[in-house]
Subunit: 299 residues, 2 copies
């Protein structure tokens, strides 16, 4: 397998940096009594994550000539939702994680109540950003963005997946149930990142479907590699505790398929994802490279 | 003071019943693995609350001839946000309440993790409902609803107020700071309930401003009475533990002003609220009665 091209690394770093600038702009510091809340919102989101979802969103948007500001505002909204989910997921009542990307999690740095509220506020803010005319001049586009993000992150999407994940700790799941769990827990938000780029760009239905299919396969490949990194990985590289699933006795792609078949499956999904981009006739180079990246990454 | 008219009681009961029907319709039961999440969402929201915010929203909407379905969908969205905030507020990391409206709180009935996720899902669902064309055919109206609700319930509104409330447990606040805290914590969501009725009805700016001013005074009167009920009230009537603020050493309108001046202030605000409705030339009868209701209620 060829290694990741320098070109993709640069593009991802650029998109991450541009998205973080927009996120920091959208989250002004507060010189007020409740500034602890704003500090926790910033701490939990401006933390140098990979910004995979913003990268997918901006790459998709640029396929249709969407302007920077629109793409980055929508990318920030998706990333705020991703960050809120990590803040709540790390709470003692949920995964009880002390470490995230090598730093104390929000509830360790602040306290549990502040972490709950910071998550709530980031989620709420995402919808305020999307409904603002600064994000797109067409109110139909803004409403479609709100609908798509809410569906992907709500009870039938990400939050439902987190519920299934909790249930998985005490119930044994088969490969079909795990696939559904992962599609909901991480796949839907990854898929909607690509879809929101298509919505911003008023893409044709075949283009939008191609991006959805791409993102669906990508999301599953991403999660299989996550499981592999948890099973084999090293804490210094991933920046979070490893072998948590095995310790919790939780079924994963790796525990059911074994490491070798899991990796083969991830590679298959990665190739399949890239093929869905054929409809863009070579113009979706970065998205093709991302499909490779998610199976090659070590963090 | 005249007692509450039967007419208002009937109107509030009708609106509560219609809103609950819409809420139940919008929250279908799930026959799936993660049904615990849906059960918790239903348990935490279909619980016979007063539905004050839906009543304010529908009364405001009907002033402008808005149809039932639009008004009730928006009313359900506001009430889901109110319910999510109660679920998170009751958590051990926050107020640690075991009882709400006479029943075990969501985290007592289910568990902490499920309560966190059910709150997250209700908040997210509120925005999905508002952005859906079923709520209003004009996408500008739908976007305005999303913006208004997100602002009222986010870091500069309800969630910010909850943060201030936590800070108030360890910091002594003056009457100005308490007024700001209460305006954010409960006032903004009450105000936006009236405002969303105006948005649905494409009200003129003077009408919209009148409703905002009304709701602002109403919200403050409502909170002062809440403090009085907590200080003097009886657990059987309020359905929740009382004298919590005093036990926590928290400054309230009552602890600073004393019960008598606090009640006088609430009555003053109630009268002032009713006067803002003059612009509707007697057509806002129910809203006028609500201004009286909030200071007369015993629960």
């Amino acid at each position: 397998m060829p290694s990741l091209s320098q070109d993709l690394k640069n593009a991802m770093a650029d998109a991450a940096s541009e998205t973080e600038k927009m996120m920091a702009f959208l989250l002004p510091e507060a010189g007020i009594a409740e500034r602890k809340l704003f500090d926790a919102m910033r701490y939990g989101s401006l933390n140098g994550g990979k910004r995979l979802r913003p990268f997918l969103l901006t790459c998709s948007a640029y396929l249709f000539g969407v302007n920077d500001r629109s793409a980055l505002r929508a990318a920030s909204a998706v990333e705020f939702v991703h960050c809120y989910s990590l803040i709540h997921d790390d709470l003692p009542a949920m995964d009880n994680s002390d470490l995230r990307r090598g730093y104390p999690t929000v509830h360790k740095k602040f306290d549990d109540a502040t972490a709950i509220l910071a998550g709530d506020a980031l989620l709420t803010y995402a919808f305020e950003i999307l409904s603002n005319p600064e994000t797109h001049e067409d109110p139909n586009v803004r409403c479609s963005l709100v609908t798509a993000l809410a569906k992907a992150s709500g009870a039938n999407g990400m939050v439902g997946g987190q519920m299934l994940d909790l249930i998985a700790e005490t119930t044994s799941l088969d490969i079909g149930a795990i696939t559904r769990l992962q599609r909901m827990k991480t796949g839907e938000l990854i898929a909607v990142s690509c879809e929101m780029g298509a919505i911003l760009g008023k893409a044709s239905p075949p283009q939008r479907n191609a991006l959805r299919a791409y993102a669906h396969d990508l999301g599953l490949a991403f999660q299989i590699i996550d499981d592999l990194l948890d099973a084999e990985g090293n804490e210094a590289k991933t920046g979070k505790p490893v072998q948590r699933d095995e310790k919790a006795g939780k079924a994963t792609f790796v525990s059911i398929l074994g490491a070798e078949r899991a990796r083969a499956q991830a590679n298959l999904l990665s190739d399949q994802a890239a093929r869905h981009l054929g409809v863009f006739e070579g113009r979706a180079k970065h998205l093709e490279q991302v499909a490779r990246f998610v199976v090659e990454r070590e963090f």
